[in-house]
Amino acid sequence: MPTSDAGIRQVVIDWLDDNYHFGDAAEKIKDDEMSFIENGILDSLGFVQLILHLENTAKIKINRTELSRKNFDSMRKILDYVGSHPDFRPAA
């Protein structure tokens, strides 16, 4: 279970590598602000799968009304959303 920004980042990179980029995900994400959808990092079908994966691995319950690109469409947005989620337990 990730307990830090670095941990969340690794969960995202690993998932993208497993499902879309097969070892090239870190290289393709040029910066944390880059839109995943607009830059072909993943498509919307995968977007939902990634969010469900984050729910399971970070043990957070994502409100379905917040399940939108504005919260998850870049590494920065994911780190901010998960890191500030009330269920998220950062390392002490």
Partner: protein
């Protein structure tokens, strides 16, 4: 567990007005029989299948010439020949005008994710097909020619396909997301004379290049004599070195603009129309040849009787040109139905983009798949709130198993309508079980068995309780004409008739209910069905020869109800001595499969094992491995020389 309470029941008026009701009345009058209920009609249609097809041909009004007798030569499903004295044209039947099919009525709408919308009336579509047919004829295309296409789902492949097949050529198509090797595995054995291709395609907001892959494919097809770019405009990037290169827009422009002098060449009923591909557990993909007449009458039966398609309908089936549902939806033109084509990401520019198109285009029948319904559910899309679905009257779903929850989701979030589970496949270019406008819908079930198909569940040692092998015992016209490149029919026999002599064995488990409905329970053989797309493990093994660390491998399906499509692809690998499957190797294996195959060829899980289940006759058993991974009893364990290999699979941490 199904409930006996239907989730949808058609009203009496729609039953009274359905084409199925009209056809049953026609049969009653002609055959002097009374069919008390749908089961009795189905039983008659199987027992009297010659009478059924003869009457259906008359009732349907299809344009044919010659003698409709004999209806069927022979009584064996494997060798029977339907309508040997009839000739017809597929394109002519799809494009003819008539009552409800006037030339100024819309016939086709093509949309893509960039917002492009193109409408063609029946008259416009027919003129385009004739123009291109004239151009293709000038290039030497005619009976016996095989043409292949790598195409987006736009109007272009529809025009190209109808033009080529109008001349007696045989059509095969693949979607742009297929890798070069997978495309060549399919098209190569056909030695096509002409390749149609798009040279780029949009997906998820990005214009993706395709020209390089098209050049690689063309270079691997030495039989090619011409190339035709399907892109709009002049297609300058489409040039393929050394070949006569053309554009679809440019073909036949110098010929007479009028279609009045055009005569549709009619070919024998069993003349090959489409070659479809199906990969098994061994060998290259099978090249399945479907005949002109068999395809057309089967599709007409399914679409008019079972789906009630007519001129008031607009059909959008979510498909690519590489799936048989593309061919299937194309035939709906013969019902006077408008076909609505969509190309690109179904979630671009917004998650519910496809549902919005269904509403905007006044689609009456929306064809989709369980993975898309699952995605819509997971994304909390509520189509009835974001789209005007007043025109929508039915949904169809195929490709993988529809679970009960999908029926509830549609009722709650789309509208009250029949969600029809349809199942059959590429092998018969049609359905064994499907919808019925006169019957209720029960959760998780296809409404009925297809008319004139003697389908039963053959219980046996390999079948789980209450289920059986899906077999069809009587001749049917959409049985493939043959496999291409299988002159003595040995491969054809092995594929469908070796398991149960004399009857078609489909490779699915089926459960037939006392209500006449059916549930499909997945494959009974080693063929994979991942997210609704059928993959032969042999294709995966071929690609993995490019990974030198792998000694041998086995691809299986593992049930996972939480996954889109209800299962996931698992790859078991035995590595060369001393090697361990680490993450870099795992990712490299996946990358090879994606680049040389497609995204669907990529396993969800790769697990290293010491050995693969192998029979005493040294055949590897995908079925045993699959049963072990699913925690099911392994019915053929006694035939294995290394049954301990099953424990390793059953207990493997990665497979839990």
């Amino acid at each position: 567990m199904s409930t006996v309470v239907p989730i949808f029941t058609p009203d009496a008026e729609s039953v009274r007005r359905s084409q199925l009701t009209a056809f049953m009345a026609f049969c009653e009058a002609e055959a002097g029989a009374r069919f008390g209920d749908p089961a009795a009609f189905h039983e008659w249609s199987v027992r009297e299948f010659r009478r059924f097809w003869s009457l259906f041909l008359r009732w349907s009004g299809l344009i044919v010439e010659g003698n409709p007798e004999p209806v069927c030569l022979g009584d064996l499903c494997e060798t029977a020949v339907f309508f040997p004295n009839l000739r017809l044209s597929y394109a002519e039947n799809l494009l003819a005008s008539g009552p409800g099919r006037e030339d100024d009525r819309p016939a086709l709408t093509a949309l893509d994710e960039t917002g492009r919308v193109l409408h063609l009336t029946r008259g416009e579509l027919r003129r385009e097909v004739i123009r291109v047919a004239r151009g293709l004829r000038a290039l030497g295309i005619g009976p016996g020619s095989r043409v292949a296409a790598i195409a987006r789902n736009t109007e272009a492949p529809v025009i190209a396909c109808l033009a080529a097949t109008a001349l007696g050529a045989t059509w095969s198509s693949a979607s742009p997301d297929l890798g070069t090797e997978a495309i060549l595995n399919r098209f190569g054995p056909l030695s096509p004379a002409l390749l149609f291709a798009h040279t780029h395609y949009p997906y998820q907001g990005i214009d993706r290049p395709l020209a390089e892959r098209v050049r690689e494919v063309a270079a691997g097809l030495p039989s090619l004599e011409a190339f035709v770019a399907l892109d709009e405009g002049n297609g300058e990037e489409g040039g393929v070195g050394g070949l006569s290169s053309h554009t679809l827009d440019g073909l036949g422009r110098d010929s007479a603009p009028s279609d009045s002098e055009w005569t549709w060449p009619r070919v024998p009923f069993n003349h090959p129309l489409f070659v479809m591909f199906s990969s098994g557990t061994t060998g290259p993909p099978k090249c399945i040849m479907h005949g002109v007449g068999g395809t057309l009458v089967e599709h007409q039966k399914e679409q008019r009787l079972h789906s009630d398609f007519g001129p008031a309908d607009a059909l959008l089936f979510q498909t690519s040109c590489g799936w048989m549902m593309w061919n299937w939806q194309l035939s709906a033109l013969a019902c006077g139905t408008r076909i609505v084509l969509y190309d690109g990401s179904v979630t671009h520019p917004e998650e519910d983009a496809l549902w919005r198109i269904v509403g905007r285009e006044r689609v009456t029948v929306f064809g989709t798949s369980p993975p898309y319904l699952q995605f819509s559910h997971d994304s909390r899309i509520v189509p009835r709130e974001s789209a005007d679905l007043t025109a929508l009257r039915a949904m169809q779903s195929t490709g993988s198993i529809l679970f009960d929850r999908h029926y509830d989701w549609v009722q709650d979030n789309v509208k009250s309508l029949p969600l029809q589970s349809i199942s059959g496949g590429t092998d018969i270019i049609g359905c064994f079980v499907l919808g019925n406008p006169n019957l209720p819908v029960y959760r998780g079930e296809a409404q009925c068995v297809s008319l004139a198909m003697g389908v039963s569940a053959l219980a046996g040692e390999n079948a789980p309780a209450g289920r059986g092998e899906l077999v069809c015992s009587n001749p049917f016209p959409s049985r493939p004409v043959a496999f291409f490149g299988d002159p003595d029919g040995a491969r054809f026999h092995a594929a469908y008739f070796a398991q149960n002599e004399g009857v078609w064995t489909h490779g699915d488990f089926i459960e037939l209910t006392s209500r006449g409905s059916a549930r499909i329970h997945g494959r009974s053989d080693g063929v994979l069905n991942i997210r609704g797309i059928r993959i032969g493990p042999a294709e995966i093994y071929q690609i993995l020869t490019h990974v030198p660390e792998i000694a041998e491998s086995m691809a299986i399906e593992q049930r996972r109800e939480d996954e889109a499509g209800g299962c996931r692809l698992v790859l078991l690998v035995v590595l060369k001595a001393g090697l361990t499957l680490d993450r870099p190797l795992t990712l490299r294996i996946k990358k090879e499969l994606k680049e040389r195959g497609s995204a669907v060829h990529v396993p969800s899980v790769i697990a290293q094992v010491a050995e693969l289940p192998t029979t005493h006759s040294n055949k590897r058993s995908e079925r045993a491995a699959r049963d072990a991974a699913n925690g099911d009893p392994v019915t053929n364990a006694g035939a294995l020389k290394n049954p301990a290999s099953l424990d390793a699979i059953r207990d493997h941490a990665a497979l839990r």
